[in-house]
Subunit: 131 residues, 4 copies
């Protein structure tokens, strides 16, 4: 698993990295219990301050999607959905509305957005809708 930082972006490095790790887990490129590179190792690879890497790992651990085992390293945890259904839906709705707003301004039709979403969705790993 390789991470890349785009310094030319306005997005802070720590958030770029956090988003990539979240995305990698969401798409299955990083499996549960898989070990992530150490802080020092990733710091050297990305030419980024070690503090920045440590901060990202800490933040993701607080979110419950990473797990530090002292002396062993940092591992992918199975995300447990702690929020209420209502809270989770609200959060997603806000994000959907932001997407739709930008889509309108970019001149897309609603069908084009739905199509693009369906296409990209195939790259992600979804939970099974239980029997």
């Amino acid at each position: 698993m390789e991470f890349r930082i785009e310094p030319s972006s306005r997005v802070p490095i720590y958030r770029q990295l956090a988003d990539q790790i979240r995305g990698a887990i969401a798409t299955g490129q990083l499996a549960w219990d898989e070990r992530l590179p150490s802080v020092r190792e990733l710091s050297r690879t990305l030419v980024v301050n070690p503090n920045t890497i440590a901060r990202v790992y800490l933040e993701l651990e607080r979110e419950g999607i990473l797990n530090t085992r002292p002396g062993l390293g940092v591992f992918v945890a199975r995300p447990h959905h702690e929020l209420t259904k209502r809270a989770r839906r609200d959060r997603l709705t806000r994000r959907v509305d932001g997407l739709l707003t930008e889509a309108v301004h970019l001149g897309f039709t609603s069908a084009e957005v739905a199509e693009l979403l369906a296409e990209r969705a195939t790259r992600f790993q979804w939970e099974q809708s239980g029997p």
Copy 2:
């Protein structure tokens, strides 16, 4: 048309307001050529510094969705899509991927996301796909 600011949010005021205005235009709550509140008026209403309002209006004007007529006020412009198809699609794809990543972490299925998108999309004003 009413705007609301959440000062306790970590999102900067200017971005909260900009997002609301973009959204209001995309959903048709603000029509083309409609006049927005003056800088000073909105500044009083929201209890926000006039410079912050002016900054939002300037940013949206540079994006081409507002236009200023000095001495008269600020108005909603019809967006003209100056960006290349490639640039517009890239921008939307980035946003879609962000949405899908969050959806996975929140424990939604891909069908649920598609459904939510379809539902919210009805609130927006889309371009006609010309005959």
Copy 3:
């Protein structure tokens, strides 16, 4: 690279500076990835408020010709042309017509304008017309 501000000019400081930076990049005096003076440094050098400098950098970043790496500084970005061919040509045509109007009023002949343009053009760095 040195910048100069003419405070007595009717042209706003922020635009004087923005024009100089755009020009410096177009002529190659500022190279891609080159670092610009920090906001505070340039503020001291030009005896101009830091906010004014920051505003210029922000504007040029939105135009895509600068990019900011928080904590590191501001750098020259390689411009990527996101605009459609139509939009770019319209913009240039408007500028050409303005130039020609002024040239006529100043009493130049069209040959003189073409000659001056050719002469000045040698100072700028042009894209290669692909093979």
Copy 4:
């Protein structure tokens, strides 16, 4: 001769109109000694404050390209080039450099700029380079 105002432009109305009149004279659409619409007439046509029209006429009269004959109206005067050759060339050079800077950023080649200039120049009325 018809004038048009673009309120969606950031350019002040008075300057839009002044530029159009200068341009119309430069291209020969307005001939020497031709009468312009009265302040009130143009004010009604463009739906613009009469003060704004009056201001434009006054400014152009100061530049020496219009001529007011009380009781009769406003007429096109023959522009007399009062500036020194050096001053006129400096002014044009600044404008040419601005054009070239924008052209580079828009991704044009120098040949394309020269071609566009030549094409647009045919619409303007140039002084004869008299023997």
